[in-house]
């Protein structure tokens, strides 16, 4: 899952995949803006059937690939 997320994020943000690892802080590094976040929300819905509520839009859930991945796992339980 982490690889798929990484591939998607690298693709929509025109970032070299090698520059992103599981713990890269996506927002602090300026990789993600509103457009990136919205694209990711759609991707999570389409790819994993995960619907993101507003209150779940937090740094805790979205700050890194690792965080996103564990958020998806939680939602799928």
């Amino acid at each position: 899952m982490e690889n798929k997320l990484k591939e998607f994020i690298a693709g929509i943000t025109f970032t070299e995949p090698a520059k992103i690892n599981s713990n890269t802080l996506l927002f602090d590094e300026g990789i993600f803006d509103s457009m990136g976040l919205l694209s990711l929300i759609s991707f999570l819905e389409e790819e994993y059937g995960v619907k993101v509520d507003d209150l779940e839009l937090s740094e805790e859930n979205f700050q890194s690939i690792k965080a996103i991945s564990s958020f998806i796992e939680q939602k799928q339980k």
């Binding site: 927002f27 300026g30 993600f32 803006d33 509103s34 694209s39 507003d54 209150l55 979205f62």
Partner: protein, 330 residues
């Protein structure tokens, strides 16, 4: 060498000598318009907001009121208050005004239709004839340090609001369509500027410029931006000194872009401007969270998050401030 860095306080960005600041800005406007740009005067789009009002007041002081024209640019969605306040402002400074209703141009561009189609895809019951709409960041996400995720809010006939998070394509279409407004205003300002051989004075303040709260080649299109270096707190200081009408000073800054009323805080800034000014200053001047937190009643962690948010905003809006890339000489 003596360390002159002042301890961080709530007064740190207040201008100590407003008159001197105004004199220096006015000298620069005069030299920019008459010497550098070689234009005969200045054109300013006036909206009854604080920024355009201060810019107009400065321009009349620098160039003479006979060499300044205020352009009112109402359109279908504008608040009537904007026009009344803009006329009051022009009257205060004895400035000629020209009113140009740009609704027809916006209709021609399909501004309203394109926007409304995107809104309807998300809120099917939306009827632009009956309902008002706006986009913004919901209150529960205002303190969130993620990039803003916008919701569209439709105000129904009974006053009830329906708010839905915008998917990417609808968000982009609404913003792109709405930006016709700023770009049409800019076109009209340049029409009058060129017809009179005047310069266009832009009205963005420091936050709008640095956080990217402007439309590229829209309100970001101008020959000079005399308040582009001033914090909002400082703009208000100038407004009081320059005698801007009290009603304009007291007015909550709004976007005046969508049919429903919306503050700038709700739309973009995510915090009151008084706090944002201080925190932005602190961030720019490398004050540590330990110095800033107690003054702002925030924990160090919260200050760090806000700093990160500022850095992100500046980075992700850099392209708005870039001139066309033309160094294609190999």
């Amino acid at each position: 060498m003596k360390n002159t860095r002042l301890p961080f306080s709530r007064d740190i960005i207040k201008l100590n000598n407003v008159e001197r600041v105004i004199d220096r800005i006015c000298e620069r406007i005069e030299s920019d318009v008459f010497q550098t740009l070689r234009r005969r005067g200045g054109i300013i789009g006036i909206s009854g907001g604080i920024d355009s009002s201060v810019t107009l007041a400065l321009a009349t002081r620098a160039l003479g009121s006979q060499n300044v024209v205020g352009i009112l640019l109402p359109e279908h969605d504008s608040s009537p208050e904007s026009k009344r306040l803009a006329l009051d402002l022009a009257n205060t400074y004895n400035v000629k005004t020209i009113e140009e209703d740009i609704s027809g141009a916006l209709d021609g561009f399909g501004c309203y239709d394109r926007r409304d189609q995107a809104v309807k895809r998300v809120v099917p019951e939306y009827d632009p004839e009956l309902h008002k709409m706006k986009i913004g960041i919901p209150p529960e996400l205002l303190r969130n340090n993620l990039p803003p995720v916008f919701h569209v809010t439709v105000v129904l006939e009974d006053g009830k609001e329906k708010s839905v998070r915008l998917p990417l394509n609808e968000y982009l279409q609404i913003v792109a369509a709405s930006n016709f407004k700023q770009r049409s205003r800019m076109s009209m300002l340049y029409y009058h500027a060129e017809a009179l051989h005047y310069a266009v004075l832009g009205t963005p303040n420091k936050h709008e410029v640095e956080q990217g709260f402007f439309v590229k080649y829209g309100d970001g299109g101008a020959d000079l931006m005399p308040i582009g270096h001033l914090y909002k707190t400082q703009v208000y200081q100038l407004a009081k000194y320059l005698g801007v009408p009290k009603e304009i000073i007291a007015r909550t800054p709004t976007t005046d872009t969508y049919t429903a009323e919306q503050t700038q805080e709700e739309f973009f800034y995510q915090m009151p401007f008084e706090d944002m000014d201080l925190l932005w200053y602190a961030w720019e001047n490398n004050y540590t969270p330990v110095e800033v937190g107690p003054v702002m009643n925030l924990s160090s962690d919260e200050v760090v998050k806000i700093y990160n948010n500022f850095e992100r905003k500046q980075k992700t809006t850099e392209y708005l401030r870039m001139a066309p890339l033309r160094d294609y000489i190999f």
